[in-house]
Amino acid sequence: MEETEVVTGEMDYGNTRRASIFTQLTFIIPAFVLAVLVFIAIFAPAVAPHPPNKMSLTKRLQPPAFVMGGSRAHILGTDKLGRDILSRAIYGARVSISVSLLVILITSSCGTILGITAGYLGGRVDGLIMRITDVSLCFPALLLAMLLAVSIGPSFLTVVLSMSILGWAPYARLIRGETLKLREADFVAQARIIGSSALRIMVRHIFPNIINPLIIMMTLSVGMLILTESTLSYLGFGIPPPTPSWGSMVSDGRSLIDRAWWISFFPGIAIGLVVLSGNFLGDWLRDKLDPRLRQI
């Protein structure tokens, strides 16, 4: 996982008014951006000015409204088929959000189960799970995505699978580490003394105590997942067209970069903004819930 550091945390020591406002902002702005994103993704048909796949041959390659020759009808311009960039970007949010939410759900649950099991049971089980984790951590997800795209064909399911098959590993490693610390705690020893089964201890005593790091990790992974999803669709093995996704929109503009920069430019900004928000929100949550996790 990336070693993210906190900008805000280091300014907190003085506890000045300015630093506290800054910390507040690193929560409010990203949370607002993500809330807007979820909103427009859900209500895309109502928010988008045009249908995302409506082509218009007379309105091809129109520049954005604020550039010479642009019109108010297409604020961010149109692509080579005359489709509205803004509307496609709004619909593109749906792909990014649904893929990342589903992947987070799958990877965090698998990673948590494996991590707690490895950490609590130890021994050979631990050794085996951690070896698989180590390999999974270092195997490029892109390669797996290519392999799946070529064997079962590109689809929503392929994208989710290729990101999930390796994505549980960082969770497993983190949760195992946390479990190792908890395993020696008094309350776990007491539960063992009164005869609780291993399963019960893992579910009732260890799991509630690893929820904070889990939530932090889930938030921090949003950015990475959106980047991966957009990379897959940029390369052409994401969600197949005509479904608009940010990565494939950037890719559409690559060959027209000398004539129509806006086709690639705006979807990329959307990706960057969302990833940035996810990372900031994750950092903020970590400082709030569990500052010792700086190393995730």
């Binding site: 390999v135 392999l147 070529v150 950037v250 970069i257 990329g268 990372n279």
Partner: protein, 307 residues
């Protein structure tokens, strides 16, 4: 130490066998490759002949055995579209990728060292904050987008550099620059934070008390120890390099292994994808094995903990 290496080596081989079975199953799940190869005139009899030629009429374990033994001989099969040996095609593209990867890795490592150390020693100055700001942006912006923006700025508007392809030294600037920038933030943050830890340690205080010049303390004593952290992340950095190379090669039409694979995926040319995946798996496992051994050599505790 010998036992540690042996156990690790065996584990890597087991992992490799696991990966090869996984790939084998996936590729067979793709269905009948003759559908891709036949044209409208191909008769069912010809298709059957191709199947026999490819060994598809044999049982699954038998096919797996043939697959593995030819792998050991370096035979990855033939491309379905170009009808050339996959090994040959990969080997032809590999030097281009290596040039790109080595140049980018070198550039980002040097920059990361410089900025990471400066960030740690001049903590919370404008330099440190600037570096952190760039790192935060660099981790948020997709590399393919940055590459396209760089093409727009440097090739379309300023007309300084070529938009794509290879040939002159100028062709290297944008691909190497964007790929280096993609891996820079991660390495830089690692070096900065481990440098901060090391600068806090007792032996650095001792070096200061001894009266060593500050430059020597930082660049020799501290940096040497601070480099262990990025070393443990080598596997991760390597994975990032591979992903980044595939993307950057596609954006810049760079004739390397990455683009070869991306195009093979488009053309459903699975022997190439399978070959590249296996090759990368071998390299990834080897890199991890070497890092583990190196790490165990540096830190004896690991030898007992992780076997």
């Amino acid at each position: 130490m010998g036992r540690f290496i042996l156990v690790r080596l065996l584990q890597s081989i087991v992992a490799l066998v696991g990966i090869s079975v996984f790939i084998f199953i996936l590729v067979r799940a793709a269905g009948d490759p003759t559908i891709l190869m036949r044209s409208s005139q191909t008769s069912e009899e010809d298709a059957q002949n191709i199947r026999v030629q490819l060994g598809l009429d044999k049982s699954q374990p038998e096919q797996y055995w043939i697959f593995v033994t030819s792998l050991i001989h370096g035979d990855l099969g033939d491309s379905l579209i170009k009808r050339k040996p996959v090994t040959e095609m990969i080997m032809a593209a590999l030097p281009n990728s290596l040039k790109l990867v080595l140049a980018s890795f070198g550039l980002s490592m040097l920059t990361a060292l410089l900025l990471g150390v400066l960030g740690a020693t001049r903590r919370d100055t404008w330099l440190d904050n600037g570096v952190k700001f760039i790192a935060i942006l660099g981790q948020a912006v997709p590399n393919f987008w940055l590459a396209i923006v760089a093409i727009y700025v440097f090739s379309v508007v300023l007309k300084l550099l070529p938009t794509s392809g290879t040939g002159s030294l100028a062709h290297f600037v944008l691909p190497v620059g964007t790929l280096a920038f993609w891996i820079l933030p991660g390495i830089m943050r690692l070096i900065r934070s481990s440098m901060l830890d090391v600068l806090d340690s007792e032996y650095i205080k001792l070096a200061r008390i001894k009266g060593l010049p500050e430059g020597k303390i930082i660049w020799k004593h501290a940096l040497r120890n601070a480099l262990i952290a990025p070393l443990t992340a080598a596997g991760f950095i390597f994975a990032m390099l591979i992903t980044g190379t595939a993307v950057i090669e596609t954006v810049f039409s760079w004739p390397g292994v990455g683009r070869l694979t991306v195009e093979a995926v488009m053309g459903l040319d699975f022997p190439i994808v399978q070959g590249v995946t296996l090759m990368v798996a071998v390299i990834v496992l080897t890199v991890n094995l070497l890092v583990d051994i190196l790490y165990a050599y540096i830190d004896p505790q690991i030898r007992y903990q992780r076997t």
